[in-house]
């Protein structure tokens, strides 16, 4: 069966060039980058090159890039590391949005247990944070504000530059989780005005287990993992050289293809979305009224169990997800859709389609050909059982 993968926000297939580069590093660049000798220098040079490529994706300086084990660790270093560094300042207040990834939400929850005050910013019906809400929440006590660049479940893009400017006006520092935008949207860290920015390689065709945190030069962030002095003493542990060089290649290719690929995916996504809305009654796009990354659409199907729809599609060779991959297996409706104030029949019955490099017009045709029938079948069954 030809399988169609529409879950690129969960993870992406590794590009052949990335796999080749990582495999070469596994085979040939085994040295410890901290070692003084030839082998160490060879590995060090490899990660330096990757650092340059990764920094270029963000329009930042290579010296500002810390390699990590992925988005979750980057978010943890950004928030915990900055909070630890700011503890002496007496500021004990954090602001994040209600639609952040669990890596951010559960990190601020952990800090709340240590006595930090946490404010969750609301979002509007399209999933966007208003600068007014941030302005109202900020005070002299606010140490850090964290707002994701693009949301993983619905794809909406937040007005980061404006929010970062506001945060700075009261002396707070600003972090953005750019895991879902890196490689999809142009990122210029200086224009965004952020202090910290997290990315993850496997969301843009790189390997899993590697990511980066961009830290504005001069900003103090205490290490979360304690140990050796790697990554300028900000992330201890021998570097994941194959993963890091793989991410470098992925960053280079993502940057080169970004404009063209974004335009291509937007056309496919819009056709999929319009096709579903036209062919399946009782559907609605979540977060559709605002600017979104080009590859994502989140659609609610009235009177359909999202779990059943996902499995039925998978049995027919179409891979999608309900909300975020992390919340699968739980009964909780999506915290993102809930924060948007959507009614239960929309928060519990939503499916995320996230497109990517391998998807074609034929894929969209196939999904539009089988989806209406599956939904009708599931709905008839629900009616028969309830009758």
């Amino acid at each position: 069966m030809h399988r169609i993968y529409l879950d690129h926000n969960a993870t992406t297939p590794v590009l052949p060039e990335v796999a080749d580069r990582a495999a070469a590093a596994l085979r040939d660049e085994f040295g410890n980058p901290s070692s003084v000798h030839h082998f160490g220098q060879q590995a060090k040079a490899a990660i330096d090159e990757a650092r340059t490529l990764t920094a270029a994706l963000l329009d930042g300086d290579p010296a500002e890039v810390i390699f990590t084990s992925g988005g979750t660790e980057s978010d943890n270093i950004a928030i915990r590391g900055a909070a630890d560094a700011l503890e002496a300042s007496g500021r004990r207040h954090l602001i994040v949005t209600a639609i952040e990834h669990e890596a951010v939400l559960n990190t601020v929850k952990a800090l709340a247990r240590r006595g930090w005050r946490v404010t969750l910013l609301p979002v509007d019906q399209t999933g966007v944070v208003s600068p007014d809400a941030l302005r109202a929440a900020l005070d002299e006590d606010t140490a850090l504000v964290s707002v994701m660049h693009a949301n993983n479940e619905i794809g909406t893009i937040q007005p980061i530059a404006e929010l970062a400017h506001l945060a700075h006006s009261t002396g707070a520092i600003f972090h953005t989780d750019a895991v879902q935008s890196a490689g999809k949207l142009p990122i210029h860290v200086k224009a965004l005005g952020v202090d910290l920015l997290s990315i993850s390689a496997h969301k843009f065709y790189g390997p899993k287990g590697v990511g980066a945190l961009w830290v504005r030069r001069g900003l103090r962030v205490l290490p979360v993992l304690t140990g050796g002095r790697q990554e300028r003493n900000r992330r201890a542990g021998t570097e994941n050289v194959p993963g890091i060089v793989g991410m470098g290649v992925a960053a280079r290719i993502a940057q080169a293809k970004m404009d063209q690929e974004g335009a291509r995916l937007a056309l496919l996504r819009d056709r999929l979305e319009a096709g579903i809305l036209a062919a399946v009654p009782g559907t609605a796009v979540n977060g559709g009224g605002s600017a979104r990354v080009a590859n994502t659409t989140n659609i609610s199907f009235e009177r359909v169990e999202a779990e059943s729809l996902l499995i039925a599609l998978d049995l027919d060779g179409v891979a999608v997800s309900t909300g975020s991959a992390c919340s699968s297996g739980t009964l909780e409706p999506s915290h993102v859709l809930k924060a948007m104030g959507l009614p239960t029949h929309r928060t519990q019955n939503s499916i995320r389609f996230s497109l990517g490099a391998a998807n074609t017009d034929a894929d969209i045709d196939r999904v539009l050909a089988i989806l209406p029938g599956i939904v009708t079948k599931l709905r008839n069954l629900t009616r028969a059982v309830r009758a």
Binding site: E305, E307, S308, I311, L315, G329, L381, T382
Partner: protein, 353 residues
């Protein structure tokens, strides 16, 4: 044909799935996530826990069929768990596995299976199902009498039986384990589940009390003459026929003979006081025959490990039935099931009143 297999992670449902796949069916493994068992500090039963779901996933991956987990926490609470607590609070002794079969596996799960284009749900139960010449679906005992689970399936309706499939029902347990070894399944030596899965540490009383705290106020223990002989910590701690844990001293062994939840009174008596030749059952489900208007000879089983007693059963109005035993039976326990057999065929069954 596409068949959904309800996979608990145990050896029986694992082999059921693998055998169907071997026979060429398109198997879809579904596991039910039924209750939050993520607390590592508590000992859970060996069914449907996170470890068990992982076992099911490994079997699916090895044999090569898809496997999914449905979250049925809410449905499980609303049907099986709430009934369990309600029954204990009413002084009866519940049988949650039977409710799980008829209210979840062969209703909610079957409904989901149909949505996925599968017309049958297979399980690892030791029971058999076939169709009589007159078109009725019949439920029969397993060929392994030591493992037979037809008692827990008596409440399946004709429609549910029509969509039920028990691939290991005609195999002895030893053969099931042999199949598991032959197929290289890691669950081949996994012990059978014993306790009620959703009660941590097998501590039913605490589980019920957390949901019905007033029960812990307790009440009086009286003898057959109505004289108080002791006190107790709640009717949910007792079951008819129970001997241990009464905290009473007596020349002859004493047993719980009656539980009255209204007055929170537990009555005790000697063993002969437990004997009954008659019982009535409610919500009776007739399987091999329509509700009999005149007495039918059957042998009736009144709990899981019970040598059935011969006698006659007749249907009463309102889906009830009366069973008259030829010889007195010990400890007819309200809340348990009475299942009527003719030979190895299940005639029907109901809940003991």
């Amino acid at each position: 044909m596409r068949v959904v297999v309800a996979m608990s992670g145990g050896v029986d449902s694992s082999v059921a799935a693998a055998l169907l796949a071997e026979q060429g069916h398109e198997v879809v493994g579904l596991s039910m996530h039924l209750y939050d068992n993520s607390d590592p500090a508590q000992a859970w039963g060996s069914c449907c826990t996170l470890d068990d779901l992982q076992d099911a996933r490994r079997v699916a991956s090895l044999v090569g069929f898809p496997h999914y987990i449905f979250n049925f926490e809410r449905q499980f609470q609303d049907t099986v768990v709430s009934n369990f607590v309600r029954e204990y609070a009413a002084g009866r002794t519940p049988l949650p596995c039977a409710h799980c079969n008829s209210d979840l596996k062969f209703s909610t799960l079957l409904e989901r299976a149909r949505g996925l284009g599968a017309d049958q749900v297979a399980t690892g139960h030791y029971a058999r199902v076939d169709r009589s010449p007159d078109g009725r679906w019949r439920l029969k005992r397993s060929t392994d009498p030591g493992k037979d689970q037809s008692y827990f399936l008596f409440s399946l309706t004709q429609d549910q039986l029509a969509h039920a499939r028990f691939p290991v029902g005609s195999l002895p347990k030893s053969a099931v384990r042999d199949h598991a070894r032959r197929l290289g399944l890691a669950v081949a030596e996994k012990p059978d589940s014993q306790e009620i899965c959703f009660v941590p540490d097998g501590d039913y009383a605490s589980f019920v009390e957390r949901r019905e705290p007033a029960l812990a106020l307790g009440g009086a223990i009286v003898n057959e003459q109505g004289r108080q002989v002791g006190t107790h910590g709640g009717v949910h701690r007792f079951t008819v026929g129970q001997r241990k844990g009464l905290g009473l001293s007596s020349s002859a062994p004493l047993y719980v003979t009656r539980i009255d939840a209204e007055t929170s009174t537990v009555t005790v008596g000697v063993r002969s006081a437990l004997e009954r030749t008659q019982l009535t059952a409610s919500h009776v489900n007739w399987i091999s025959i329509a509700a009999p208007t005149s007495p039918v000879r059957v042998s009736a089983q009144i709990r899981h490990r019970h040598q059935p007693g011969a006698g006659s059963v007749v249907a009463l109005p309102d889906e009830r039935a009366e069973m008259i035993f030829d010889e007195a039976q010990t400890a007819v326990t309200p809340g348990q099931a009475v299942v009527f057999y003719s030979g190895e065929t299940v005639v029907g069954g109901g809940w003991i009143e």
